[in-house]
Symmetry: C2
Subunit: 353 residues, 2 copies
């Protein structure tokens, strides 16, 4: 099937586009009343993730309201540790929690061998269904958490302020940490390849917590395993290249090494100047980002000015996918999202030949 | 009075030292049982800050245990908004809170004119007393929060996950935000000059939340006002230069512009490679940092290895003050701090001629 709008895939490969494509991390989310209604219907958050029909529904909801250039699978980054038997659940207002944690090197060795493709068939079923429903309108993004990010949750048992258990494990048991990360990298490869086989047309690796590391530890314990994943992914499907986006929150100091991972694009948070980032990575990768999600709390005029500033910062030429620098937050006014998306398309035409 | 140990002041001015000086953000803090006992005696946290004798006692406690090369005044970064009538208080486990907040531009205009030197005499009294008790053993550091950091707390009414009120205020009311920051910069100048007059031998500006901004907003709303403060500070006292340290947490991408602020040294968090930072700032400023405080949860061998790695990263020559990349956390084993401090002195001699 021919894609009616392939701007997003073209921009990731630094090919010419008419206007800069835009999507939004967490675009299927709590800021939308229709999302909250579907989630209510599903029960808890995991039940929503595990129901392909409802996951498909919430994936499509933002596309009915806004002129987004891509859809992203609705799921959670922690499905893999859940499939490994750690028991993921969500407590309202407290974020993800695991019933079991990795506390010792022995716990790593005792992790079961599980096929992600079969254990996480609820995800691939959702991917197939979403592709069918999208009917070629825009491409579908698949995703996974990075090995380091998954490992932090598996060791901490949930989110953390300072990740001290994960870091102490890394510094005191580096071999066991590498074994864990290596097993997670293999699981992520299986998982993303299953998503690609089911119809995901690009994939993003969310390294939410790589940015809490020292530069040395980041390269050894996070980036190394993301590079391994990139090497292991299916390169092409349905006659098109599958672009890979790597997003390390707070990774702005390390773009040069990230660009050598083999990925096609780097996600940027808002603390990085996108023009400077472009100079640093040259023609090696495309860039995705990087508006501060908090600007969506400001008035429309301020939102438009910020979109304008970021587009001018990237400048003329190809290789920019507009996005927020992190996920949209639940309290944003949905009208402000329309202002944002429309401004990207309106202001960006001048930068494309 | 001649200082018996002036390594810290010399390193900040990139003058020769025998070994790399070391101190630790939040070195007078909850990881020490004697601190917890004194705080218990004082009642709540603000009563401890406001009692010069007890503030002096907790300032000196870590120096009795460890071979630190500097003392830092025990106080809080939020004394200025408290003096402006916002009513600072602390709820255990929830961090600082204000009874009144800045919600509108009119609130900024209605802030009272207050002399920090007289309103915050409990701080300058503590400085005088600590200097007397230190008896020339090591220098004393004074400090303040940065205008942007103070403004975020004044608008949010406390800490925040995404600082959306502060950011929306900045984007929707830039003139009122600049007025607020300008008034805070003047207050910080008064406050730090009073600390210097009372005996502070170096000062640090804590820009805890500058790193949540875009690069453009950082320069306009945070760095600009810190540069203004640096220009307004007393340059010399007791025949010695008063070095100024500027620490923006998460500011590693902006070191070049920070180094142009007129400060003598930049504080680095652990996400920056200190060798790379040194190349970027050249001979313009000294560097302070930058071990991840979480490494203090690891075994002594891992702590020593990390100290060694950071010292080697900075390399030979002058202009390094060793520190953590952020404050020490309450659950650290006090024995690990000794390992850390002694390792800095032991391993660093080789890098000084």
């Amino acid at each position: 099937m021919t894609l009616k709008n392939d701007r997003f895939l073209r921009a990731l490969l630094r090919e010419p586009v008419d206007v800069t494509p835009v999507w939004m991390m967490r675009q299927a989310g709590r800021y939308l009343p229709e999302y909250r209604a579907t989630r209510e219907q599903a029960g808890d958050f995991m039940s929503l993730c595990q129901n392909p029909e409802l996951a498909c529904e919430v994936t499509l909801q933002p596309l009915r309201r806004y002129d987004f250039d891509a859809a992203i699978l609705f799921s959670d980054i922690l499905t893999i540790p859940d499939a490994l038997g750690l028991g993921l659940y969500f407590v309202t207002g407290e974020g993800p929690q695991f019933r079991k944690v990795i506390a010792t090197p022995a716990d790593v060795e005792q992790l079961p061998e599980v096929s992600m493709a079969s254990e996480l068939s609820y995800v691939t079923d959702a991917v197939s269904l979403i592709r069918k429903e999208l009917n070629g309108s825009v491409p579908l993004i698949g995703f996974s958490g990075s090995p380091w990010t998954l490992a932090t949750y598996m060791i901490e048992g949930g989110g953390s302020k300072d990740f001290r258990r994960a870091k102490a494990f890394m510094y005191n048991h580096p071999e066991a940490m590498h074994l864990l990360l290596d097993r997670l990298a293999s699981a992520v490869i299986d998982y993303l390849n299953a998503q690609i086989a089911a119809g995901a047309q690009a994939v993003q690796i969310f390294d939410t917590w790589g940015g809490i590391l020292t530069p040395t530890a980041y390269e050894q314990f996070s980036l190394h395993y993301m590079s391994k994943i990139v090497s292991g992914l299916t390169k092409e499907n349905e006659g098109r290249k599958i672009p890979v986006i790597l997003f390390t929150k707070n990774g702005g100091q390390w773009l040069e090494v990230m660009a050598q991972s083999g990925c096609d694009a780097l996600g940027l948070d808002w603390t990085t100047d996108i023009g400077n980032a472009r100079e640093r990575v040259g023609n090696k990768v495309a860039l995705q980002g990087n508006m501060d999600p908090s600007i969506l709390y400001a008035e429309p005029a301020a939102i438009r000015a910020e979109v304008d500033r970021i587009l001018a910062g990237f400048g003329s030429g190809e290789g920019h996918v507009f996005n927020l620098g992190h996920g949209i937050t639940p309290e944003v006014n949905p009208d402000h999202v329309k202002t944002f998306v429309d401004a990207v398309h309106e202001f960006s035409a001048q930068y494309h030949a």
